[in-house]
Amino acid sequence: MDYHKPSTFEEAVAIAAGAAGTTRFLAGGTDILVQMRSGIATPEVLIDIKGIAGTRDIVREDDGGWCIGVAVTGAELTEHAEIGHDWPGVIEAVGLIGSTQVQGRATPVGNLCNASPAADSVPALVAAGAEVTVQGPEGTRRVPVEDIPTGPGRTSLKKGEVVTALRLPPRGRGGGDAYQRFIPRTEMDIAVIGCGVSLRVSGLVITEARMALGAVAPTVEPVRGAADALVGTRLEKSALDALADLAQAACNPIDDKRGTVKFRTHLAGVYARRVARIAYERARAAQ
C-alpha cells in the first residue's frame, strides 16, 4: 500500500487519477482501517487528505450557510458553538456515529462516502438539503448528498474525484431539524433504522418539510411526499399518521442480523412520528 499526504486537492486529484489499483481517501479512517483489519479491503493507494489547507475548518458563509471541511471530526462539530444552534438534528446525527473515541476521528464526509445505508449523519444531511463539493480531473461540481451513495459501499464519485467540502444551507427563521435512530443498546450499535426530519414553520403551520430514512433501503433517500403530508398542517395526529404511512411505504429494507423487514418497517413509522415532533418543537422555538 502506498501512502500519500498531498497538500492540495489538485495534487490529491492527480494522485488518484493516476493511481493503478484500489484507491481510497483517508480522513478519519474509522471505516477504512476496520476494512483493512478485517481483511475486507486493503487499498493499494491511500491518500490522506488531512494535510490540505482548510480541511479542518468550519466556516459560516456569506449567505448564512455553513462550509465544513472534509477532515472536520464529529467531536469538532458537536463542540462547535454555533452550528448546532442552526442544525441541531445534523449535529446530533453526527454525534451518534460511534464512541467518544470514534468521534475524535470520524468525519461526516467519511460517513457519507463510506456509503452505508445505515450511516447516521446521512438522513439528517439529506433532510437538511446539504450538498458536497466534488473536485476531479474535469473540474469542480456541487452535488446533493443524496446523490453520492449509489448502493451499499458504492458512490457516484468517479475515478480521481474527491469530496472537498460539505455545505449546509442557511437555516433561516422558523427552521428546525432532528434525527433519531433505533439501536438495541444505548450506544455503539449500527442504526437498525434512522430518521431525519427538517421543517420550517410560520406560526404553528408547517411551510417546508423534508424527511429521510436510514437503514431501510440500499441508499438514504428523501421520502417523497413528506412535504405534501406536512406542509399546511400543524402536525396534528392526521398529519403524523400520514407521515408514518409514507415512511413505512418508503421502506425497502432487507432481513439481516440487525433487523427484519417487518421490524424495520414498523420502526420507520414510530420514528417518523417521534422525530417530526421534535423537529416541529424546534422549528416553533426558532421563530
Partner: protein, 159 residues
C-alpha cells in the same frame, strides 16, 4: 516493502520510528516502541482498550495509522502517572476495585482522564456515555463509574 520515517511526541518524549504504512498506531506503540499499555481487544474500534490521546483528543489507536502520527502529540496510559505519583484516577481505580482482570483498565483510564480534563464535574450519565466505547466484561461498570466520580470530586477539591 518501503517503510516510512515518522517523528512524533509520545508522553512528552520525542520518538522516531519506521513503519509500514499498513501498520496501525497500536501496532507501532506495542511492537516498535515497547509501549504495551494500550491493548488490542478488537482491532476495529469497538472496545476502546487501545485508547490514546492524539493532540489531546481521545481516539482508538487501532483506528489510526502509524504514519498519521507524524508531528503529532500522543498520550498513553504510561504517561498518566507523574513519576512515582499515581494520578487520582489511578489511585481511585485501585481503591474502588474498579478493575478485575485489568485488561480494559489502561484504555478506560486514558478515556476517563480525557473526560475530566474537559468536564471536571460530570454526572453519572455523562461518565457512562463518555465511556460507552470502553468495554469492560468483568465489573458491570459499577465500580468504574464510582471511581471516576470519586476521582473527579477529589480533583475538584484539590484545585
Amino acid at each position: 516493502m518501503t517503510k516510512i520515517h515518522v517523528t512524533a511526541r509520545i508522553n512528552g518524549d520525542e520518538v522516531e520510528f519506521l513503519c509500514d504504512p499498513r501498520e496501525t498506531m497500536l501496532d507501532v506503540l506495542r511492537d516498535r516502541l515497547g509501549l504495551i499499555g494500550a491493548k488490542e481487544g478488537c482491532g476495529t474500534g469497538d472496545c476502546g482498550a487501545c485508547s490514546i490521546t492524539l493532540d489531546g483528543r481521545l481516539v482508538c489507536s487501532c483506528l489510526m495509522l502509524g504514519v498519521e502520527a507524524e508531528g503529532r502529540e500522543i498520550g498513553t496510559v504510561e504517561g498518566i502517572a507523574e513519576g512515582e505519583n499515581l494520578h487520582p484516577l489511578q489511585r481511585k481505580f485501585i481503591e474502588h476495585a474498579a478493575l478485575q482482570c485489568g485488561f480494559c483498565t489502561p484504555g478506560i483510564l486514558v478515556a476517563a482522564k480525557n473526560l475530566l480534563e474537559r468536564n471536571p464535574d460530570p454526572s453519572e450519565e455523562e461518565v457512562r456515555y463518555w465511556l460507552a466505547g470502553n468495554l469492560c466484561r468483568c465489573t458491570g461498570y459499577d465500580k468504574i463509574i464510582r471511581a471516576v466520580l470519586d476521582a473527579a470530586a477529589e480533583m475538584r477539591e484539590a484545585s
